[in-house]
Symmetry: C2
Subunit: 458 residues, 2 copies
């Protein structure tokens, strides 16, 4: 009798953890330029793990940025091909003092793996390697498989589009699988069918050429922090609308029917508020929380700094103030156009008494996935079998820069089979991934292969 996936997981779970932890222990933080060694170490570790899982060949391709790991398993050249996409880079772990255990030393507590990357995306992408390993080792794989793992997802995947264009033949495939999203809840599985785009700027406001004594100069020299707050405060209004001219011009107007479907997605506002410890939900007037994060654009200041930020009371009129600003975009909004609009508007509303520099740091387009494709149906069947309930199609607020790139360059619409939860705290201190979902993810991915393989045969 063939070992079934449950038995295989049970037999091998300690090894699975050790392999995943070996990836997590490498702090492959792409936003920090001093982590280049770790970036390369992590790519190398993926290479070893993929070879052990059963691929024929793995290459690490240099790019102008971080290297790309690419692996192939040819079962039969006549068979169709699945390509798995994931990323081995992680977000910075700061603020470190808020972590209960070290971010790069995974710890299992309360049935969860706690570590930076436990979910996003080391944990999620590793499930694909293990589902693949099971299918190979038990001779059930009836597809060709490719793995593409990049190291710049968290900083905008800037070199992946070029890599895809230059290697379109090598990357050609019929289906792209990505696990880098979350579900509505552990009990309400969902498949992400839409992603918001992203535009990200850094703003620098300069007044005098050096920090000044606020007593001697205060009242006569422009304060760059105050000028920055005046700029930022003007970008949204009391109704939660973004006030930048033409910002909403290309926003997809979602039909009433679709909005009705969205209204059916289970959502407990009290529970949402409680989990986040917020007093109220807030945002654009006329839209629900799910709409605000799924079908509407949003503007956020991700960081701000300037002047004296240490203990005590230094009386200084600072020279400079900075902010990091991001916009989440929806279908039809092109980030290049938005980048220009926002930059121009900020310069226009800035005081003449200060220098204002706006740097566009990166952007990605939004994405929508059809729900009537054979791939979506196979995924739906796989989730239904493993979770015991049909997954809901949901448009989510996050951005995965490369998804629209695959669509554009490889002409394949990726399928977003995510297994994360909102409570996984990705990008935050104490990121975690429930072991139950780690195992269910491996089983669902395995089931997806079995489903789609039987589709192709029938």
């Amino acid at each position: 009798m063939k070992t079934d996936i449950n038995a295989y997981i049970t037999e091998n779970q300690n090894r699975f953890f050790e392999e995943l932890f070996s990836l997590i222990r490498i702090p492959s933080v792409s936003a920090h330029s001093h982590r280049q060694t770790e970036i390369h170490q992590c790519a190398q570790r993926w290479k070893e793990l993929l070879l052990e899982a059963g691929v024929d060949e793995v290459n690490i391709f240099p790019t102008d940025g971080n290297p790309i790991v690419f692996a192939t398993k040819v079962t039969d050249p006549a068979l169709p091909t699945i390509m798995v996409y994931g990323h081995y880079d992680v977000m910075p772990a700061e603020p470190l003092e808020l972590w209960k255990s070290s971010p790069f030393e995974p710890e299992i507590r309360d049935g969860k793996i706690f570590a930076r990357g436990a979910d996003d995306d080391k944990g999620q992408s590793f499930m694909h390697a293990k589902a693949f390993e099971y299918l190979v080792k038990t001779n059930q794989l009836k597809y060709n498989v490719k793995f593409l793992l990049e190291g710049e997802e968290e900083i905008g995947s800037e070199n992946l589009e070029k890599f895809c264009s230059e290697n379109a033949e090598m990357l050609s495939c019929n289906t792209i699988l990505v696990s880098d999203t979350s579900m509505l809840s552990a009990e309400t599985p969902s498949i992400t069918t839409g992603l918001r785009g992203l535009a990200y700027w850094q703003i620098e406001v300069t007044s005098a050429s050096r920090d000044l004594h606020s007593g001697i100069f205060g009242g006569a020299v422009a304060n760059p922090i105050m000028e920055l707050t005046k700029i930022l405060a003007q970008l949204t209004n009391s109704e939660g609308k973004i006030t930048i001219p033409n910002f909403y011009d290309d926003v997809e107007e979602v039909s009433d029917y679709e909005r009705e479907l969205i209204a059916q997605i289970p959502f407990d506002e009290e529970d949402y508020k409680k989990k986040l410890s917020i007093k109220n939900v807030s945002g654009e007037k006329g839209y629900s929380t799910i709409e605000r994060t799924g079908i509407r654009p949003a503007l956020d200041v991700c960081g701000i700094w300037g002047g004296y930020t240490d203990e005590g009371t230094k009386t200084v009129l600072p020279s400079k103030a900075f902010a990091k600003l991001s916009a989440r975009l929806v279908p039809h909004q092109q980030y290049e156009k938005i980048a220009e609009l926002v930059t121009k508007h900020i310069k226009q509303i800035a005081s003449e008494n200060v220098e204002v520099k706006v740097d566009f740091l990166h952007g990605s387009q939004s994405y929508v996935c059809p729900i009537d494709s054979p791939e979506y149906r196979a995924a739906e069947a796989a989730y239904t079998k493993i979770f015991g309930i049909k997954p809901l199609p949901v448009r989510r607020g996050g951005s995965i820069g490369v998804i629209p790139v695959f669509e554009k360059v490889l002409k394949v619409k990726p399928l977003l089979m995510g297994f994360g939860l909102e409570s996984d705290a990705i990008h935050s201190p104490n990121e975690n991934f429930p072991i139950d979902l780690f195992f269910k993810g491996i089983r669902t991915i395995t089931e997806f292969y079995l489903q789609i393989q039987s589709d192709k045969k029938s």
Copy 2:
């Protein structure tokens, strides 16, 4: 023939530098709680230097905060007493990367001493010790002298008022001398006759209980940085007025005659702009730059921070945002009342979607000194003799918390014999003090003693 002060300085200048440098090398940063050892070392070093300079007795008094150094020299109990006030604590040196030489290793370049505290206030208060030493060593001292050096001036002198009240008898004096202010320029000496008061707050805005992914939550959860910018942006208007209700209620209305005198103070706006590398002066409509920093209150954000402030593009919706806010106050504005007004107003205008905490960190009253007292006239004569030009009485924008306390508790109006320059960059990187002014300061202080001693005799 008696050694004159010029010869005395020339003979002893290397020792003067070494003694001053021994104070500067101790990083007595009062805002940093981990500098307690250095605070105590610096007080101890002052004790040694004052004994060497010729005082009879020095005691270091503990307080609830940093210790107070108090020294006495009794020439004749029947004579009047001068008390010198200074502070041995310094501002933090951050941002360290902007210093050309190490802030706590003094370096002489281009005729200036570069170091944190070179001017404020180690350099300036040390001149008093050396003028006193000269008078003692050459038997010319005809006054009793007291030295009071505190270690909390840069954090609001919180324990000095209590110390003064409890030791009013010990501190009793006829004249208080303070060198902790600046002159209009090296060529236009001036005596500070007014100081602004200060009120200082820290604001903390909290949204969710943890940092969130800006893609998943952006648009539906209040952004604490944006809410903070909306608060701060509202506190001043486009005419440079502070918009907090009742803020101006008690502001002294300076007479037209006084404003005419102020208009006569030499001021080169182009040069001012050039020195600060600013595009324009700015501030309250209807007032000149000198008025804006001398007779009008001002509001400044001294620091702001929140979210991701490192390299790159972390997409985060932060949990918290912070700002340090200060107000400079003018005569008749009571900081206690302003503290309350501002705190109340900020809470009132804050969004209901976030928690806003406002902590009042410290305050000091404003001060005005008469220009017809014997002390002022003696100082005026001393400056005139050493600088070759009569000093102008000027109201300045800075705050020295203890000055109004002396007036209130000891019933003596301190005389502010400052020798700093705006270009000394106090509270900023590359703080410095010109050697020429260091020597002229010692000579002017010496001359002040000789003038006031001859006044008393006549």
